[in-house]
């Protein structure tokens, strides 16, 4: 069995199983197990890529994984597995109808993201990313309320329009290639485009990149196309928010990185860097200011995602050093944000509100969740000893090395604003007396183990770079540098 089969088939099987039989707890367990198989395959893929370079399969090498794909696939599979185990239907008192819907669409959502990062064909990558909108939009209003319907409408419309523009960019890139070579064989393959890139025409590729950046940038939650993101991430059920915030944004950034690698060869890096810097700084600014005025902790986490995606974009514009820092930051953010949204789901269950002002005494009412939430917030704020501190530091150093001290000053100031906003709100939630209705009953312990492990991994990343990850990042630097 090929590694791609082991990666992509389990989520499909899980969805088919959940769709085929009426929901019972065994279906949820099976889905969780299959997600773990997929995660194992993703890790194996990483191992193979490190051992022997890119792995390819299928007619016209339609499936291909290099270091960049392997890193993203591991992130997606990890968060998908977490979501499967934290999804509705495994605990007591979950409605079977909701549970079934979740266990059909969440694996499909994971499948579309995994396909997007492992296909070599940029057309199919687009198809897969468009399909992420469809599969995830079905899950945002798992509970039909006015706000969740509103959020999902904004999400599906803006997401679809954005992604349609990315299709326009893909067509323009293809157009340039066909005008040049005339051949139609497998030319939408990224490897072919990359090899042909030196001969592509700068004006057309520039236009294509604008379309692609606006299109995939909408999915990535870059300002000013970010308006759907806080709504959708706040209204979605917690495991879905974890997938959307933790990895969907990363997958959209991945698509931009793939195209940037082609466009930079054709046009030079200055063009894409300027655009990425503009969108990145704008996102960072809007997110930092919005973080300060938040009253809802799920929206707070959503704006923090915009902040970090903006930061990743800035990193991508700062040369190879910056790109490596950005990719490391992506991994750190995936771990931190998936954990935080799952914790937020636990808080919501206990307190029955998403308002920051009505959550207090978290450390007293739910000590395990509270301490992990504190650790996650410190990590997101960019404090040591967590991984995000290291990647932000690397990013800022790359900025100074690239000769942009003023820009880095601005970035640091905005990070400071975000820091204050995030920690002030978290502080309010952690201390004080817990409201009576939140109760002081014991919290379920076992879910804290995987979340604790994620926080632990963030701490490990804060003090050292594990050698396999370091090697993957070095390979990625080769891929993204023209």
């Amino acid at each position: 069995m090929s590694v791609f089969t082991a990666l992509l088939l389990p989520p499909l099987l899980a969805a088919a199983l959940a769709a085929a039989v009426p929901y019972r707890r065994a279906v949820g367990w099976a889905g969780g197990g299959l997600a773990l198989v997929s995660l194992g395959a993703a890790l194996d893929l990483g191992r193979r890529v490190l051992a022997g370079g890119a792995v390819a399969a299928g007619p016209q090498e339609v499936l291909r994984a290099d270091a960049l794909s392997a890193l993203l696939a591991a992130c997606v599979a990890l968060v998908a597995a977490l979501a499967a185990w934290f999804g509705p239907g495994l605990g007591p008192g979950d409605e079977p109808r909701r549970a079934r819907r979740f266990h059909v669409f969440a694996p499909l959502f994971a499948f579309t993201m995994l396909s997007a990062v492992t296909t070599n064909n940029v057309g199919l990558m687009w198809v897969a990313i468009e399909a992420t909108t469809i599969t995830s939009a079905m899950l945002v209003p798992l509970d039909v309320t006015k706000t969740s319907v509103e959020a999902s409408w904004k999400y599906v419309l803006l997401g679809s329009v954005g992604i349609a523009l990315a299709f326009g960019g893909t067509v323009l890139g293809y157009f340039d290639f066909v005008s040049l070579a005339g051949s139609r064989e497998a030319v939408l393959n990224w490897t072919v485009l990359r090899a042909a890139a030196p001969a592509l025409h700068p004006p057309v590729m520039q236009l294509a990149f604008v379309f692609l950046l606006v299109g995939y940038g909408t999915k990535a939650g870059l300002a000013p196309m970010h308006t759907w993101l806080p709504d959708a991430h706040a209204e979605a059920p917690a495991p879905l928010s974890a997938m959307m915030s933790g990895v969907l944004l990363a997958v959209a950034v991945y698509a931009v990185v793939r195209w940037k690698a082609v466009v930079d060869v054709a046009v030079g890096t200055a063009f894409s860097s300027r655009l990425l810097l503009a969108l990145g700084v704008l996102s960072l600014t809007i997110a930092a200011l919005s973080l300060v005025i938040q009253r809802n902790y799920k929206r707070m986490l959503a704006y923090s995602s915009i902040e970090h995606t903006g930061l990743v974009c800035i990193g991508l514009a700062l040369g190879p050093l910056g790109a490596v820092a950005a990719m490391l930051h992506l991994v750190n953010h995936t771990l931190a944000k998936a954990t935080m949204f799952l914790l937020a789901g636990r808080i919501l269950r206990r307190y029955r509100t998403t308002e920051i002002a009505r959550v207090s005494g978290l450390l007293q009412a739910m000590p395990g969740t509270g301490w992990l939430f504190l650790a996650g917030a410190l990590a997101l704020a960019g404090l040591p000893p967590f991984g995000l501190f290291v990647s932000e530091l690397a990013l800022v150093r790359a900025g100074f090395a690239a000769g942009r001290p003023w820009l880095m000053g601005l970035v640091l100031a905005l990070l400071g604003v975000a820091f204050v906003g995030l920690l002030a709100h978290t502080n309010r939630m952690l201390y004080g007396p817990p409201p009576a209705e939140a109760g002081t009953g014991p919290e379920s312990r076992w879910p804290l183990v995987p979340l604790g492990a994620c926080v632990g991994a963030l701490m490990v990343l804060g003090v050292m770079l594990p050698p396999p990850l370091a090697h993957l990042l070095a390979r990625i630097a080769e891929i993204v540098t023209p």
Binding site: P141, L157, V204, I293
Partner: protein
């Protein structure tokens, strides 16, 4: 022969753009649906013309799918939706009709401007239609931001897709078939999901005026 070819492709693109302008000019949803169906058939026609003159046999399949999915199936679903929400018309868009048409004219000019490198580069006889397709893309985007009813926005989105499909077929004689099939599947599923949400908006808000969707701020 190739002049007939290029004339037909420019004619088709112009018709597609004109159908797009109906969204800005008329007020009734039935007119929008008819315009979308007509535009899809024109797009299928252009695709078939490219298939004949350009010798691209894959494109016959694409043209047939276009007729079936976008010419017949989606308009039928849209009409069903329209019957349900008959009372809701695009009475007060954010931008009035006259201004909208002026802006649309400017957008078509912009479309010409940004397509210049494309037309300069292409050697295909169909290249003359590309600026019009780009114009349609921009006009559809304008419809999306300036109209308030969920149904109008859905149709604007469908026309945006048509514009991009037109750009693809004129510029490249069609993208590879496997990708094309994926795009079709996504377009159909995406539309079905949007349709579900339009019904749901109506159930929960008792209107499909998206201006009322304003509970989520900041």
């Amino acid at each position: 022969m190739s002049t007939t070819f290029s004339q037909l492709s420019v004619l088709g693109s112009s018709l597609a753009l004109l159908y797009g302008l109906i969204l800005l000019w008329r007020r009734g949803v039935p007119a929008y649906i008819a315009a979308f169906a007509g535009q899809s058939l024109v797009l299928a026609g252009v695709t078939a013309v490219v298939a004949v003159f350009g010798g691209q046999r894959d494109l016959y399949w694409v043209a047939a799918l276009l007729v079936l999915v976008k010419g017949i199936a989606i308009p039928a679903l849209l009409r069903r939706m329209e019957r349900r929400f008959r009372a809701e018309r695009e009475l007060e868009p954010y931008v009035n009709t006259a201004t909208s048409l002026v802006i649309a004219g400017l957008l078509v000019l912009v479309g010409y401007g940004i397509s210049r490198p494309l037309v300069a580069l292409s050697r295909l006889p169909t290249r003359g239609g590309m600026p019009l397709a780009m114009g349609l893309v921009l006009v559809s985007l304008f419809v999306l931001v300036s109209r308030k009813k969920a149904v109008t926005q859905v149709i604007g989105f469908l026309m945006l897709e048509n514009g991009l499909a037109l750009l693809a077929v004129l510029g490249t004689y069609g993208i590879p078939l496997i990708v094309e099939l994926g795009v079709f599947l996504d377009a159909l599923l995406g539309f079905l999901v949007m349709q579900i949400f339009v019904y749901r908006i109506h159930e929960t808000f008792e209107t499909i005026d998206v201006e009322r969707l304003s509970r989520l701020r900041y």
